[in-house]
């Protein structure tokens, strides 16, 4: 098995799609939220919406760590990049995200030392190979990515690498889901649960969703068959009136999560009392900061970070799109002032942002039925 192609097998996909059609009650309109940006991307990339009946609506959730980062945090990070002694290192996802004075790539064009890394270990490696410079790693991500940052910080400390710090923007998924459910504009039937976050936190943290809100949640993989099977499982739960946490992604997600990863996170991070989420406002206990024992590797304590707060332009409706209240094309700026070439908000530039996904994969997809029938 190679664990990729098998889950893209056309006959099985067709079969599973048929099962969805069979199960979906034609008198109901289903609203399922996929929390994770990776799922949003998968839905568009694999064209899964074409396989679903009209009465199943997929609502995009806020699980895109780039999208929920307030612009001010990007400006804070970039302000440090202006120091010629600093190397600003971040994942590719961050490179085009606009700050008030430009994106990291634009800063790079102006001569600042901005580097793309593929792993926090790459950033630490940069510090080892550039002993006379300070490497600042702009860390983003949910609980999937935080343990890797934690382990890297532990290594930096044990190796005594002093020219390295992390600007920590790690956020946690449960408060985001709570914020969605608390939102009065939201009406959802069930959740497609984040698959890779769950490899770390396990499936237990979702139990309150079924107990308090009585909404089913299926932790899902990212291949077409995974997502379609998860929808089958959700439909079955709704059909029988039950609500429970199910693990569709069993081959990868352990119910209890990854203890070693959770230990690493606990060693290095603690919860911030509150953190500002773009579009969702301030949410308490929703983000990580670096513990005092690792203060020396905490960018915010090593350097004077301006602490800029930048409000989004009034017309931008990033918040409503993030919460799934609005579809991307319903934002007034979509496709006009805000496009992937000149994005206003991160949702248009992040690879998982629903606006970018919609613009790149869906927008202009008129009359596909005629294309499919003529090319069949």
């Amino acid at each position: 098995m190679k664990f990729v192609d098998e889950f893209r097998e056309p006959e099985l996909i067709t079969k599973t799609a048929e099962e969805i059609r069979r199960l979906a009650d034609p008198t109901r309109h289903y609203r399922f939220m996929e929390v994770c940006g990776g799922h949003t991307h998968a839905i568009y990339r694999f064209g899964l919406k074409d396989l679903l009946p009209e009465n199943i609506e997929l609502i995009h959730g806020p699980g895109c760590p780039v999208c929920v980062l307030p612009m001010g945090r990007i400006d804070d990070g970039l302000s440090l990049a202006m120091d010629p002694n600093v190397i600003f290192a971040a994942f590719g996802d961050m490179m085009r995200v606009p700050g008030a004075n430009g994106s990291p790539l634009e800063y790079k064009a102006r001569g600042m030392d901005v580097r793309i890394v593929y792993s926090p270990s790459d950033a630490l490696k940069l510090a080892r190979t550039n002993p006379d410079r300070h490497v600042m790693f702009f860390a983003i991500g949910f609980e999937t990515t935080a343990p890797s940052t934690a382990l890297t910080l532990m290594r930096a400390r044990s190796e005594g690498i002093r020219n390295f710090s992390v600007f920590c923007n790690h956020v946690t998924i449960i408060p985001a889901i709570r914020a969605i459910l608390d939102s009065p504009d939201m009406r959802l039937d069930a959740f497609i649960g984040p698959g890779h976050v769950s490899t770390v936190i396990g499936c237990r943290p979702y139990e309150w969703i079924v107990h308090d809100e009585h909404k089913p949640i299926v932790v899902s993989g990212f291949e077409p068959l995974d997502m379609l099977q998860s929808i089958v499982m959700l439909l079955r739960q709704l059909q029988s009136g039950e609500a429970k946490v199910e693990n569709q992604y069993k081959r990868v997600v352990p119910w209890e999560g990854n203890r070693a990863a959770l230990r690493a996170m606990a060693e290095v991070f603690q919860l911030r009392p509150y953190f500002e989420w773009r579009g969702l406002g301030f949410i308490s206990q929703s983000a990580l900061r670096i513990r005092d024992e690792y203060a020396e590797w905490d960018t915010e304590r090593r350097f004077q970070v301006p602490g800029v707060r930048v409000t989004d332009p009034k017309a931008a409706q990033c918040g409503e799109v993030l919460k799934g209240v609005l579809k991307p094309h319903q934002c007034k700026l979509f496709g006009r002032e805000c496009t992937p070439e000149h994005p206003i908000g991160a949702l248009m530039v992040s690879s998982e942002g629903s606006c970018a996904a919609y613009y790149n994969y869906e927008h202009r997809k008129a009359a596909t039925a005629s294309v499919l029938s003529s090319t069949a």
Partner: protein
């Protein structure tokens, strides 16, 4: 007495960006904006011809193709080739996909002071070899040296002239719904090879650049199916997605792309999955796309498959009315998505 020559028609610049970014050289939307918004209005005058890989000029009744390209690559040497090969093959290919056989090239070198001579010699030898293989003469050139740090070792630029191939005329306006889209071979090899050759990643793969002259393949296809060939392009920076989108825009029709038909080597697939890249956006230096009328498509494909180097050529899609101006990717299970061109270079992602 001085005369002031005024512009007879003031050219309108549509390019509004205050500075040039890397994206403007990546071959995607930003590049197109720069070319269409700044260069075209000022340099190409009132011509409303769509931009193509080469242009044709008539000298005393004889049609001659002319093209130019510059080569900036890091590292200079990589598995499968080097900047020298790219410089020759790139221009030969631009002419080939415009329906012309390269006859002569001239080249310009911008060299960085401090460049070891043996590196320069290696590249010039590579160019001589590539030119010999491609059957093209190099008849002249120019050299400039800039200060250390002002050029990544060297930049090479080549300009080529070519003789139109008999029996083929490239014109995006001649493309019709139902026409077939052919691809000469696997995509993504060059771009991923370069990425891995930079050694910034802990990734190793058995991959090499696909740089080669595609002229023999184009010629074989022209002989077998010349009257049916509507359009060709070599998908360099920006990848196959960009070239197909350019076609869709230029002819105002849609392209249906059968994603599972597109040949991609395993190692390219693996590297793209790891980095979150789409092979359709990755540069190629030895492949081309062709749009062929349905009656000629099988003959064209057959000719390619029988020519050395064209064994993996295949039909990857067709032209349709919709979605007009866009490319629609279709999976084997009927899922669809728009395949767009990127703004700038493809960036790896972790999310």
């Amino acid at each position: 007495m001085q005369t002031i020559v005024e512009e007879s028609v003031p050219a309108r610049i549509r390019f509004r960006e205050p500075q040039i970014e890397m994206a403007h050289g990546a071959g995607g939307k930003a590049s197109r904006r720069l070319v269409e918004g700044l260069f075209a209005p000022l340099l190409f005058g009132a011509s409303s011809e769509p931009l193509a890989d080469a242009s044709f000029v008539s000298i005393d009744g004889t049609r001659i193709a002319i093209t130019t390209d510059s080569f900036v690559v890091k590292p200079l040497r990589f598995p499968g080739g080097s900047i020298g090969e790219l410089a020759i093959n790139g221009t030969v290919n631009d002419l080939a996909v415009s329906g012309a056989r390269a006859e002569a090239l001239v080249c310009t070198f911008v060299l960085e002071a401090g460049l070891p001579t043996e590196i320069l010699e290696a590249e010039v030898r590579a160019m001589a070899n590539a030119a010999r293989k491609a059957g093209v003469k190099i008849t002249g050139g120019d050299t400039k040296v800039v200060e250390h740090g002002k050029a990544d070792h060297m930049y090479i630029s080549t300009t080529g002239i070519g003789r139109p191939l008999h029996g083929v005329r490239i014109d995006p306006q001649s493309v019709r719904p139902g026409d077939k889209v052919l691809l000469s071979g696997p995509i993504g090899d060059h771009g991923i090879t370069i990425l891995l050759a930079r050694r910034e990643l802990d990734i190793e793969a058995d991959l090499s650049s696909d740089t080669r002259s595609v002229l023999p393949l184009v010629e074989a296809m022209t002989i077998a199916a010349g009257p049916g060939i509507r359009w060709m392009r070599d998908p360099t920076r920006g990848g196959a997605a960009t070239s197909l989108n350019e076609l869709a825009r230029d002819c105002g029709l849609g392209i249906a792309l059968h994603e599972d038909q597109v040949p991609i080597h395993d190692a390219v697939r693996g590297a793209c999955e790891l980095l979150g890249l789409d092979p359709l956006h990755i540069a190629n230096e030895g492949q081309f796309l062709a749009v062929v009328a349905p009656a000629y498509a099988d003959a064209a494909l057959n000719a390619l498959n029988l020519t050395p180097g064209g064994e993996e050529a295949c039909i990857i899609g067709e032209v349709a009315d919709q979605p007009a101006g866009s490319v629609l990717g279709i999976t084997s299970y009927g899922g669809t998505r728009i395949v767009d061109m990127l703004v700038g270079d493809p960036l790896p992602r972790i999310c």
